[in-house]
Symmetry: C2
Subunit: 367 residues, 2 copies
């Protein structure tokens, strides 16, 4: 096992971690963008400057008390392309960072709740990632990291504009607060576009599973702040938290109303999803995400007694390309991957009880 | 129970009847069109003439030794609309005959192998319907009926043109020979259009499940003769029989080659069909036909050990609208019917063993 694969938490354990509201909120994330004073941004820096920043930041970051004990701390030329992809699939690094090699680095704590990218778009991209809805806690954690680092290095800071960043959309607080939500009820009730519009009007962005420009596969939506200027970090976190709580309410209402008004449509979609997942012999990543979303909804509605939600969450992760490739010598092409994915799903979904729509009588309690 | 429902063979028994080549050939049918000499065709006849023809023909037809013992023999105003639809779904009467009322009649033997429509488009439409590939036997059976009737009534016959019929496409022999084939292999291999073209060039027609102008749902195709003039009945039957045997060979080759070249595609389609049929909560008639076709193919390929093909054949029948309505007081609309159909399928498909693609090792023997 290579260092990073050895370091990462097994998927089963990773998906078993719970948090408040985790029926609807997969995770909460707060990240800060920071840059060294007087040093060119990584995208514009010459190699020597990038290495200088790397050499200054990596030791400081690795020794952070918040990363202890024994964090993973390596240059980005260490993990293979596949390993980097695994980190992307677990939301521990950005897609952009996965393209980096020597001169960029990653520091990760053992719990995988703290991830710090060195020389991504900014010198530092620091994120706190927690299960369920824990935006305040995530903010607190990353704020401590930030405070701690500011005692050791000087960040580029303008008295009027705040923290300077490579991209102006991060200028000021350099904060991006986001929550990953599972909203199948709103999608089935065809209310999702309304919600997206309402949330957008509040100056928040709604995106797909892997952030900017990605599709909302599996009915998974990321809500994040757009503005980083003119508002304090606390205010941004609080505002997002409030909106997420409202969206959760709407999602719960949508589920109850769908169950009451169109139970057959709901049972039909969930049942078919279960039937396909347990019997397909080739299945794409996109179709899998959408079917797993319905399976997860079924678990939430009590249709699969005895099946924990975490089992479905693990399937979301294990269905991703790099996770499928894990432990296989031959490189899977897309067609072969679809076959391997179907095989994995057939085997795992055996562990899911067959759907029983009569078990939803306790629906309001369950929701 | 009304007379006709009481008379009909239960679906389970009806589908259990077997015949040669019935893995690929559902049924063989030979029908003759005949008209009374000197009497106007039913479509042009005044009521009094139609009743006259009816009164002359019904007693003769009912007393046919080939219809004995105790045939069903009734005027078409006796069965309800739903009962007529059941007769259509079982291929015992034409869609056109289902619209007829008083003045038209039906005689059916107990085995449902002989069905004679009085005052359909012609005064007599007599069909012999046998399971599997038994075109010669079906011809022999209906020829005997014809001979027997000719001793009692005089048919419109022209020395040059042969038997006169309401529609010129039936002129001459008045014969329509057809076989109903299940060709999922040729459809999956995308060779079906080639086969249809080749068969058409031989002067034969390829149609869907319910004859002229209907879609080939469930990969079911009807092959029949186009010409009724210039060839003897024996020649027509023999020619069709030969072509059907060739199509059977092509279908078997296509199945073997798909299994060898694209096993995952095959297992995928069959597995998904099984998964959906056993877990859907609403399903249309068309989708059902197509999925049942794949299930039947799976049974043929040995993927469902212990599941008889007849179980699938019964589901084909039970999924039809009028059969679904059977035994229900409230009239089902289309939406409700889709729910009832899904419910019936979920319950029945429980009796099918779960698919096991490892069981296809004996594939060549199985085919």
């Amino acid at each position: 096992m290579t260092p990073i694969l050895n370091f990462l938490i097994p998927t089963t354990d990773a998906c078993r971690r719970s948090g408040p509201q985790d029926k609807i909120v997969f995770s909460s994330r707060v990240r800060l963008a920071r840059n060294l004073r007087g040093a060119p941004f990584p995208g514009h820096a010459k190699k020597v400057d990038r290495v200088k920043a790397f050499d200054q930041l990596m030791p400081a970051v690795s020794r952070l008390p918040q990363a202890a004990p024994d964090p993973y701390a390596e240059s980005m030329d260490k993990p293979t392309a596949q390993e980097k992809q695994i980190l992307v699939e677990r939301h521990l690094i950005s897609r952009e960072h996965a393209t980096k090699t020597a001169g960029s680095g990653l520091v990760l704590n053992q719990e995988e709740t703290l991830s710090i990218m060195v020389n991504e778009e900014d010198h530092l991209r620091m994120q706190s990632l927690l299960p369920g809805l824990q935006l305040h806690l995530a903010w607190k954690a990353i704020d401590e990291v930030d405070t701690c680092l500011q005692e050791q290095v000087e960040f580029a800071f303008h008295p009027q504009y705040g923290f300077l960043t490579a991209c102006p959309t991060n200028l000021g607080t350099g904060i991006r607060v986001s929550a990953m939500l599972h909203l199948p009820g709103l999608v089935l009730a065809e209310q999702i576009n309304q919600i997206i519009q309402a949330v957008s009007k509040l100056g928040l962005a709604v995106r797909g599973l892997y952030g900017e420009g990605t599709q909302a596969l599996g009915n998974i939506f990321q809500i994040s702040n757009q503005q980083t200027l003119g508002e304090s970090e606390q205010e941004i976190v609080e505002r997002l938290n409030k909106v997420v709580l409202q969206v959760i309410d709407h999602e719960e209402d949508a589920r109850i109303s769908q169950l009451e008004k169109r139970p057959n449509v709901l049972f039909n979609q969930i049942g078919r999803a279960y039937g396909i997942l347990s019997h397909a012999h080739t299945i794409s990543s996109n179709e899998t995400m959408n079917l797993l979303s319905l399976l997860r909804l079924g678990v939430d509605l009590g249709l699969f007694p005895g099946t924990p939600r975490t089992l479905v969450d693990e399937l979301f992760l294990l269905s991703q390309p790099a996770h499928l490739q894990l432990g296989r010598v031959e490189k899977l092409d897309a067609d072969h991957r679809d076959v391997v994915r179907a095989e994995m799903l057939r085997q795992r979904v055996k562990g899911v009880s067959t759907p029983d729509h009569t078990k939803t009588t306790a629906k309001t309690e369950s929701i």
